[in-house]
Subunit: 325 residues, 2 copies
Amino acid sequence: MANIKEIARIAGVSVTTVSRVLNNHPYVSPQKRAAVLATIEQLNYTRNMNAVHLITGRTGAIGVVIPNINYYYFSAILEGLAREALPAKYRLILCQTSYRPEEELQVLDMLRNKEIDGVVIVSTALKPETIEAYTAYGPVVTCQDSGERRFSSVYLEHYAAFWHGLQYLRNKGYRKIGYFEGRQHGSSSGLRQKAFGDFHRESGIPLHPEWIMFDCATEEDGAAALDRLWQMEERPDALIIAGDHVAAGLMIAARSYKIRIPEDLAIIGFDNQPIGRLLGLTTIDNQLFEMGAAAFRIIHDQINEDAPSPVYRKLDYRLIERTTV
Amino acid sequence: MANIKEIARIAGVSVTTVSRVLNNHPYVSPQKRAAVLATIEQLNYTRNMNAVHLITGRTGAIGVVIPNINYYYFSAILEGLAREALPAKYRLILCQTSYRPEEELQVLDMLRNKEIDGVVIVSTALKPETIEAYTAYGPVVTCQDSGERRFSSVYLEHYAAFWHGLQYLRNKGYRKIGYFEGRQHGSSSGLRQKAFGDFHRESGIPLHPEWIMFDCATEEDGAAALDRLWQMEERPDALIIAGDHVAAGLMIAARSYKIRIPEDLAIIGFDNQPIGRLLGLTTIDNQLFEMGAAAFRIIHDQINEDAPSPVYRKLDYRLIERTTV
DNA sequence: GTAAAATATGGAATGGATTTCATAGCAAGT
DNA sequence: ACTTGCTATGAAATCCATTCCATATTTTAC
């Protein structure tokens, strides 16, 4: 395959001049520029980008740590990232981790290895200290609140958002509140759990631990959780559900039980997903697209600074009132 | 930052020996190996992978051309790809193209530039000839039937699958069939359209073009298409819908019209999505995970051959009978 | 005891670009 | 006439690891 040296030889110029043409640098006479371009055309030449990456120390790629591509929450953030990254000529390297620390570390090691210019961690199983150790090698941004760490983050105040939802249910007169959650152990899910506990304590509403259902990740999990709930003696009159698709599954299953929503059971979801919109699901919008987009913008800025200081960008949630409360 | 030369100097060996240790090559004495490893540890050294990529001519990355990450069809294929690729130590470079040819070409150019070892094109806006031209630079596999081209493909016989669905409706007594489709112009959607036309012609059932709704990409599009359909004088008694989530949107909207399914309107979907499973939607499973997985396996095999011949892998569809027909 | 094979090691070439530095011609400014 | 400053060009250093080849030592084989 042709290389820059060959182009230089055939075009009768130096490799420096060829490089100048390739990179649109000034100080190349029109004649030489034309000769170089003609030779490039003729030999069907393209740069070996690995050589470029080696010498420049940049790759124009960003690693994305994502537990599961197939969940709306994650794929929406990814979509937001992609929408910003591609026009800026950055590529995304995807790593589906399923919350396995080894996989996450592999992406962080790619930063160390100079394979990527930055890392966006959408959701992590690692400790913040572990991530911090890698900031020496390049910018890292997480999409969850890790406190004021030595890496940037874009986050939503899940505690406040959840509290807001609970408050809303309470103002509407509901006092028997159930809760469907995805992972039991997780950064933002932990905050929601804390909000759920604190809210009950503070407002004096009795908390029913048996109405808290974990591992609700899919539509079918939502339906199954309702089944369990409806076998109980005492049932909640309202549910707060992390993930509109889970709520959707529940709403669909609710039909066979002839449960009227919201008369028999009020529901409030999370994420503002299309399926929820269709079902008239009251939900809390958490700006997933914007989260991905903001994460990219921060990484992008920081790649070009030499000693970037971490940025903590808080996004606003918004309660969308529809018909299920 | 430390490099291999520095490690060699400090450990008192040659760079060759360091390289041997790094790559687990034989013929290194235990003492020297230990010395090298100790120095690596001490200097917190890691390889600059860009140098490795340059000299080996491999990067261990595969480009994925995907129109939209956020659609189940695509994200399921991506999931299948990721599940195979990551254990095999391959990375995926994602390019969301929105069917823009420039974006697709950029990924193919990455193959030319040696930034990636292969390309998986999940769905494309390019002509097969254009793709063929790039096979000189590395293996390419598409997830749609392009005929017997100079690149591999994994595909489902959309024509036959669709015909099968239509036949099923006909056997159940339906004679007034509507059709919701995503893109009007597209490889597999073209095949389905052809099947729809041919089927009506051959079976003598009159075709109602006004019952064909294009651009049904989301749940909400499905609902909106039903709205349009239900404003018509004459309505279909059965629908075949490309995409279970679109069918789901329609089913949810159908409730407000008090349409009984399947008595008033039978529905058959595509993709076997979780939401459809929950709704009891009769559907045609098209093995999306397997499609992604197979695509990776083919690329992976071909990367290690020097003159690979294209592979055409046909996947089987399967009609899943539930309760909407 | 000697030839052949296996083990151990390093020098130097190689992959393919970018960039610093040096040099030189030429126009403008004083 | 002489200093600046801009344009144009190329040689050579640099980025960093892999691998071919040559050489030396040790084992095994007969």
